[in-house]
Every structure is written in C-alpha cells, then in structure tokens.
C-alpha cells in the first residue's frame, strides 16, 4: 500500500472512530439527548426533518456563495491595488492588519442597523470575513514578484499592463487560490454568525430556534449540515486550485537530472 493511500485510510478511520467513540461513550455513561445526542440520533433527526431543514441549508449556501463572490471581487481589486507597488504595500499593510484583527462578529449589529435584519447583513458579513485573506494573498503575490522577471519584461519595453497580465497575475494565481480555500470557509462562518444574530432564515437561525426550544438533536443536525457544506466547499476550491495552478504544486519526480 503506498503512503498516500495509507494516509487516506488512516484519515477515514479516524473520522469513523470519532463518531463510534462518541456513540459508545454516550451509551456507556447514559448521557441524555438534551445534553449530547448520539450520532445515530442526529442522523435520524436529519433524515426525518430533512424537508424542514433543506430550505434553510439552501439559504445558508446561497448567502455564503453570494458573499464569497462579492468578497472575491472586492478582494482581487483591493489586493491588486495594494500589491501594485512596494510603496503601496508598505503603506496599506498596517491599516489592513488593523481591519482584519477586528472581530467580525462585532460588525453584524452595524449592518443590521444599516440594512435591517435579513439576507443582506448575512451576505455582507460573509463578504467581510472572506475578503481579507484574499486581499492579503493577492497583494503578497503581486508585491513579491521577482525583480528579475520584471527586468526581463522591462527590457522588452513592456507596459505596466503587459507586466501585470503576463507576469504579475499568473504568478499570483497560486496565492489567490490558496486564499480561496480559506476564504470560502470564512464566508461560511460569517453567514452563520449573521444568521444567528439577525435573520429568520438559514441554518444559523434554525439552530438558534432549535436550541431555545431545547431540540438538541436538531441543533446538532444543523451543525452536521454546516460541517458537510464547509468541507464540500473546501474540497471544490482545493480541486480548482490544483487544476489551475498545478505548476506551483509540481512534484520532484518530474524533474530530470
């Protein structure tokens, strides 16, 4: 068995083992549903209440993707601006760090104040949360382009735009796609936070209502949905990353002597 396959088996075994241990511990110590439901109960709840849960899951996914799309647009634009020169990078960096270190939960009430409760604050929260990893990565990718690569282009009398489109942007792609993986999970977090605080739809809202009526299995069913959606989005963007920027993930065995 090759090492990679063995790692995958080990990962799968760990995940299954985790749920089995959870189930067994709940049974062994007689833990009540209202404290910690067993995984089997969660799955049963999920199956039974699917028609009720489904619209909420779709709403959360929709909000996340819209926020994420806006985040990409804003992130690439700001990142290109900040990364356009060493000076811009150095000047803008402290402000960026300042903004990104604000706990984003704190901005949800402001969005609610401006736009009222509902989908818009959730979309904006998702966007705010996912925009910073993208800005920082795009800016870093552009700002760290090797000067020699630019010299090659400048000796050919290439315009700023030629340099950006032929060297800067392609070189930044690995950074960009690496940030998308992080950003999409962040967008997800943003959506759920906003939904718990100020919305009447979405998984976050469903979990709030379920917990206030002590429907603990439903709360955990919501959690499970969130985990599955989060992992799925991460996998999708990892896959795109490897496909688009394979040159940056090259393997040594291709190299010739």
């Amino acid at each position: 068995m090759n090492p990679q396959l063995r790692r995958r088996f080990a990962s799968a075994a760990l995940i299954i083992g985790f749920f089995v241990a959870w189930e067994l511990l709940c049974v062994a110590f007689g833990i009540k549903d209202i404290v910690l439901p067993r995984p089997s109960q969660i799955v049963v709840t999920l199956a039974q209440r699917m028609p009720a849960i489904w619209p909420h899951a779709l709403q959360t996914l929709y909000t996340t993707l819209v926020g994420f799309a806006l985040g990409i647009l804003a992130g690439v634009f700001l990142g290109a601006l900040v990364g356009s020169s060493k000076l811009a990078y150095d000047v803008a960096y402290p402000l960026l760090v300042g903004f990104s270190s604000i706990p984003k939960v704190a901005v949800v009430p402001i969005f609610v104040l401006w736009f009222g409760a509902g989908t818009i604050p959730a979309v904006l929260t998702a966007m705010i949360l996912c925009v910073f990893p993208i800005v920082v990565n795009v800016a870093t990718g552009l700002a760290t382009t090797e000067p020699e690569l630019e010299d090659v282009m400048r000796a050919l009398k290439a315009s700023k735009f030629d340099i950006l489109s032929n060297v800067g942007l392609p070189r930044t792609m690995p950074y960009f796609f690496a940030s998308l993986k992080v950003a999409v999970t962040q967008a997800f977090v943003g959506t759920v936070i906003a939904e718990t605080v100020a919305s009447n739809r979405g998984i976050g809202n469903l979990m709030m209502i379920a917990s206030s009526s002590f429907d603990v299995p439903l709360v955990f069913a919501g959690l499970l949905i969130l985990a599955v959606l989060g992992v799925a989005l991460y996998v999708v963007f990892s896959f795109i990353e490897v496909r688009v920027t394979g040159w940056a993930h090259r393997k040594d065995e291709f190299a010739m002597g």
Binding site: E146, E148, L149, D151, V152, M153, R154, A155, L156, K157, A158, D162, N166, V167, P170, R171, M173, T245, W247, A248, R250, F254, A255, M256, G257
Partner: protein, 277 residues
Amino acid sequence: MLAPASGSRAHADAFVELQKVTHTYGRGDKEVRALESTDLRIEKGDFIALVGPSGCGKSTILKLVTGLINASSGVVFVAGREVTAEPVRVGMAFQNPTLLPWLTLRDNVMLPLKIVAPFRQEYRAKRRSEFRDRVDALLAQVGLAGFADKYPWQLSGGMMQRASLCRALVHEPQLLMLDEPFGALDQFTREELWGIMQELWMTRRPTVLLVTHDLKEAAYLANRICVMQARPGRIIQESVVGFARPRTIALSYDPEFVTLTQRLRELIMRPAKETVQ
C-alpha cells in the same frame, strides 16, 4: 522626447555609446558610486565582454544601456539616439534562467513576440503557425528539439539556460545583453553553450554586451574585452581578441590564448593588491 545634453552627439559608426557616464546608487550617507566617468563605444554587430571583480559596475553598464536605470550624469546613446528615446529591440539573459514556471518552454520563448512591436500586432494571427515554427527552430538550434512542450521545472539548469538564450534572441534583437548567463552552470555545459552562443552570434549578428567573471569565456566569445576595476567602477583597459572564428575549446589551451587570459587576470588582481596595505 529627451533633448540631447548640450554638446554631446553620438558617433556615426557606434551602435552603443557611453559618454562620460556616471552612476550613483542611494543617497546621502548611503551613496555608492557604482560607475566613475566612463566612455565606451560598441559598433553594430560587435561582441564586447565586460570583465572585472564583483561590484565594478559591469551590470550597471548593462542596465544603463538597456534603459532599466538612468545615468546620474553623462549620456547613453543607442542607435544614434539617447537611450529610451527610441525603442530598440533588446534581448536579455541573466544568470538565472528567469523562465516563467507556468508556461511551457515554447510559450516562454515566445513571450517577446507577444510583447515587442512589430511582432505583437501579429501575435494572435501567427502564434500557432509562423511564430511557433520559428520558436521550434530556435530551440532545435540550441539542442532542445522535442522539449518545447515541457515546463521549465522539468528541465535541468543547462537546458533552462539554453531556453533563456532562445527567449533573448527570438525577436531578432539589435542588442543582446548577457549578464553572466553561464555563471551558474557546470564547466562542460558552460563550454558547450559557449559554442552555441558563438554560432548564434555568427548567424544572426546582434550587437552583444556580455558581462562575465570568467576570463576564458570572455576570450572565447568576445571581439573586444573591457577590463573594469571596482570602487569606483571604471574601464581600465580594452583588449582586442583577434582569434579567428569559429573558435573551439581546443583554442583555450593555445599559448596565445592562455597569455591573454593571464594578462587579463593580472590586470584585475593588481589594483586589489595595491589597495591592501
């Protein structure tokens, strides 16, 4: 357009000319004079080598002629006009191959055709026909036939450097700038590439300015060698290399060749000895 500095005009027969050019990096306390007042004339189609110790301003001259940096004083003429006044097609190769890792070898070599006039206007129309054939022929000439679809990281250092030479030449540059292009290679690869470089020069006749640490390389490739001195950087001596072409590696063991490289070596080492007390 820049007006030429008063009184200075380019010589009619010189393709590249430096007149009283100085260059200083940094400001105030950190000021470093990289190049002391320097005159240099290169005729069209000539092959000049700049040799000297580290920090003697060799690469500075290269960058001045390319227009990558501006002279602190003095004038640099290229093709009878002040540098940057008129676009002259320049090819450049560095010690690192600086190939773009996301492009195949063919696309890497084709890059100048995508950027430089008049090729860029025809790039879309000819990239899959005429330009492609031209690139493949050039790759074949340096011994890279069949590697056009490989990515740079799939090749050895010597192969990447060959491709880098192709990229410097593909757009038929009038001026070819070589900044220690063979410096990072092993001796056998280096000597093989000298032969290839000589052949490329003889068939295409660009004006070449080669910066190198390797005296054998300079004597093998160049028509004229300018010896430079460090701190402040300036040209202290020029030697004409008269050996007939095509030159061979066997020539480098010829007594006359050895005498030449030894004399160059003494010229470069002497000032260092004098300043060490």
